[in-house]
């Protein structure tokens, strides 16, 4: 009887504590993706991510994310399994681990305006991301491939108003769980919402990575404007330079998208990407046009896509089906992405 009373008191105390902390239920979400890609030269010419395997029904990844908030504190833990989330984005660790952490961070909102976040997070730089759910096109841009994927670090965010907020943080080298030359990067993001439907992110990230020949600095503009109910326009422009003539890149991509219905959309990505020559080498530029459809049925999205790339300097050494070099490449892909 005594034990029963104690248990009742303990249960009530726990329930009261939970209520006082305003805990939200545990959120579970994620995605799975699979694709077929066919390069018309019968060899995988286009080296951007993630539709990389030729003439094969291939898999992307299964992505599982957990989120929980208790009062002002929250965490996000997101793991992915499969080529897209593992060796195609970040190499497996020395222990040959067979998964990849997409997000692993804790957050504390000191006030409605100020919060601190620490851990390993999706990068704040760029338009496209690793997760296939948040990208319109299935294959990715050159800008995405060249920029950071994730940044571990600690960052503070302050919301000045509905229209302006600022994030400043200290970060590890790009895409690593551990920084071997100390917390070496500083970054910031200014978010501006000039009018309803238009958001612009001005990003900067600078630091000296372990083993690098100089300090790398990236300036990035990522913006999207919902022009009408059906038409959305996105833009990504970036410049990355490493001091001591160690190269970098410059590029811009435009993303017009038109929704015929809530379930059927068509989007184009036009990209110019210039690789800065290191050590006195000349630059190399590439242009790319990708046309993708998004057909949604519940949680499932089909993404049929055609892509044409032009590499004038033959930097990527595209080849024809007979093996001879060519300046252009084209591919078709059909992807299926399920988000839950």
């Amino acid at each position: 009887m005594k034990l029963k009373s104690l248990l009742t008191i303990a249960t009530l105390s726990f329930a009261s504590a939970t209520y006082a902390q305003e805990a939200t239920p545990l959120q579970l979400s994620g995605s799975v993706d699979t694709y077929f890609k066919y390069d018309f030269a019968k060899t995988p010419n286009i080296k951007t991510y993630f539709a990389s395997e030729q003439n094969s029904v291939s898999i992307g990844m299964i992505d599982l994310a957990l989120k929980k908030s208790t009062g002002k504190a929250s965490f996000v833990g997101e793991l992915s399994f499969g080529p897209r989330g593992q060796y195609e984005s970040i190499g497996n660790g020395p222990d040959g681990n067979s998964f990849h952490i997409q997000n692993l961070y804790v957050n504390y909102a000191f006030t409605d305006k100020f919060s601190l976040t620490a851990g390993y997070m999706g990068t704040f730089v760029g338009y496209e991301v690793i997760s296939p759910v948040a990208n319109f096109n299935y294959s990715t841009s050159y800008l995405f491939g060249a920029g950071p994927f994730q940044n571990a670090g600690i960052k503070g965010s302050y919301v000045f108003s509905d229209k302006v907020s600022l994030m400043v943080g200290l970060f590890n080298d790009w895409n690593v769980y551990q920084d071997f030359n100390g917390v070496s990067h500083v970054g910031g993001q200014l978010t501006v919402n000039p009018i309803e439907g238009w958001t612009a992110y001005l990003n900067v990230l600078s630091g000296y990575s372990a083993g690098a020949g100089g300090t790398g600095t990236i300036f990035d503009l990522t913006t999207a404007y919902q022009v009408t109910e059906k038409f959305k326009l996105g833009l990504n422009a970036a410049d990355y330079s490493v001091t001591n003539d160690n190269g970098g890149y410059t590029g811009a991509a435009l993303y017009p998208q038109y929704a015929f219905t809530p379930a059927v959309s068509l989007g184009l990505r036009g990209e110019y990407f210039n690789i800065k020559g290191a050590g006195g080498a000349s630059d190399a530029a590439i242009t790319s046009v990708t046309l993708s459809g998004n057909i949604k049925a519940g949680g499932l999205t089909f993404i049929p896509e055609v892509r044409f790339d032009n590499d004038e300097e033959q930097y990527y050494q595209f080849v024809k089906s007979n093996g001879s070099l060519t300046k252009s490449a084209a591919q078709f892909s059909l992807a299926a992405v399920y988000a839950f």
Binding site: P25, Q27, L28, A65, A134, Q226, E229, P262, A263, A297
Partner: protein, 183 residues
């Protein structure tokens, strides 16, 4: 204002004469003046300031606020937001009675962002009356039903507030102190 029950729908929303979904009620409040009812409505909006934003007075007697419901997918102890439904909340007060209606429902789907948080994927919503097509009909029906349920919950709270049923706050017991001066 005319409202018609939606045929074949199991949610509480009806259609108005514009063909828009509406939650419409007229409430008798005998012995309460128009001024008092307006004050109570204002108090409700202040209490729900995080959910309802007063936008304007459409006319001398009509108040308007914008609000949103978060639509969640729930399975056992787990859940995640699918999107939000924005709406307009109108109230008109007269002596001894008031009427209110929620309408102009638009759905904005959520999408997981790069940090694993669910955020609005667009700023322009789709009117809830729009036909979603066969592929998304089941999900869309779920959004309509959830909106109807959320509207029921919100309007029940609103009517309770308008009836001036104040919550009785538990009295805080003053802390007992020991005087060290008298001994």
């Amino acid at each position: 204002m005319i409202s018609l029950a939606g045929v074949g729908q199991d949610q509480s929303l009806s259609y108005d004469e514009r063909g828009k979904f509406i939650h419409y009620e007229v409430v008798e409040q005998s012995g309460v003046s128009k001024v008092n009812l307006s004050a109570r409505a204002n108090r409700f909006f202040k209490q729900k300031a995080k959910l309802l934003k007063m936008t304007s007075k459409v006319a001398d007697t009509i108040m308007q606020a914008e609000g949103k419901f978060i639509i969640n997918k729930t399975a056992l102890v787990l859940n995640r937001p699918s999107g939000e439904v924005k709406y307009n909340f109108y109230i008109e007060c007269r002596d001894d009675k008031y009427r209110f209606w929620l309408t102009d429902f638009v759905f904005i789907p959520y999408q997981r962002d790069r940090y694993g948080n669910f955020v609005a994927s667009t700023t322009v919503g789709t009117p809830l009356e729009n036909e979603p097509g066969k592929l998304n009909a089941a999900e869309w029906k779920g959004y309509i039903n959830n909106t109807g349920k959320e509207a029921e919950i919100l309007t029940a709270q609103f009517k309770e507030s308008m009836a001036d049923k104040q919550e009785i706050k538990p009295a805080t017991k003053s802390r007992e102190t020991i005087s060290t001066k008298k001994w």
